[in-house]
Symmetry: C2
Subunit: 129 residues, 2 copies
């Protein structure tokens, strides 16, 4: 299958697929005599995997690591475990940070709703931030 067909089958674009290749996420496909990329049909699974990895918040670089382990004939289970637990920690940290920030911004916002422009101190930019 050519690149456009693969893009259609996976809901991406030819641009993106060439980008993935340049980033080392795609195995180098054979080319037709005229130079067109000619993908085996199971490439669809690989792209779907990349999309699921992204949906789990992994970066393309991390997804690439898993792919490389698999391409090397090994099982990436251990690496996947460690990536997922790292991701989990990041998410927990990020959520905790955002909850604190939400509190802060919430208070500022409440205060700003009671704002009286006339009470604006002339020597500062804004008393609510």
């Amino acid at each position: 299958m050519w690149i456009g067909e693969l893009a259609n089958a996976t809901g991406t674009t030819t641009k993106t697929l060439r980008f993935y290749e340049s980033e080392g996420l795609m195995p180098i496909p054979p080319r037709t005599s005229s130079g067109y990329r000619d993908y085996p049909s199971d490439t669809v699974q690989r792209i779907d995997f990349i999309k699921r990895g992204q949906a789990a918040g992994l970066t393309l670089a991390q997804i690439g690591e898993i792919l490389h382990i698999r391409d090397g004939g090994n099982t990436p289970c251990a690496h996947v475990q460690s990536l997922l637990s790292g991701r989990l920690k990041e998410l927990d940290d990020q959520i905790a940070d955002l909850l604190i920030l939400r509190e802060t911004v919430g208070s500022l916002h409440s205060a700003s709703l009671r704002a009286e422009p006339a009470a604006c101190a002339p020597n500062q930019v804004c008393q609510y931030i």
Copy 2:
């Protein structure tokens, strides 16, 4: 005060202050005869405001809007209110998205802890993603 002193007083760097100037967040300071930026001492308050705005998750562009309103002699209260309520909504959405993602990644991670590499299906990359 020169740029290095201002940087020290506010916990930033001279690089950053020049960057803020290029982004239009700083009023253009007078220069000494040799071309050095010579800031009035109340510039410290302005930098502190920028840092508080960043801590509230506002972008430099948004902080710049507030600063411009203030520089124009007006009270930015109404704008600050709308920025903060927008930010609050973004935070709520972001937190909700992250909580869903955390669920997903948590399940994947739990499943991966029970991984048996031998059970790895040969036609897919990893069954846990």
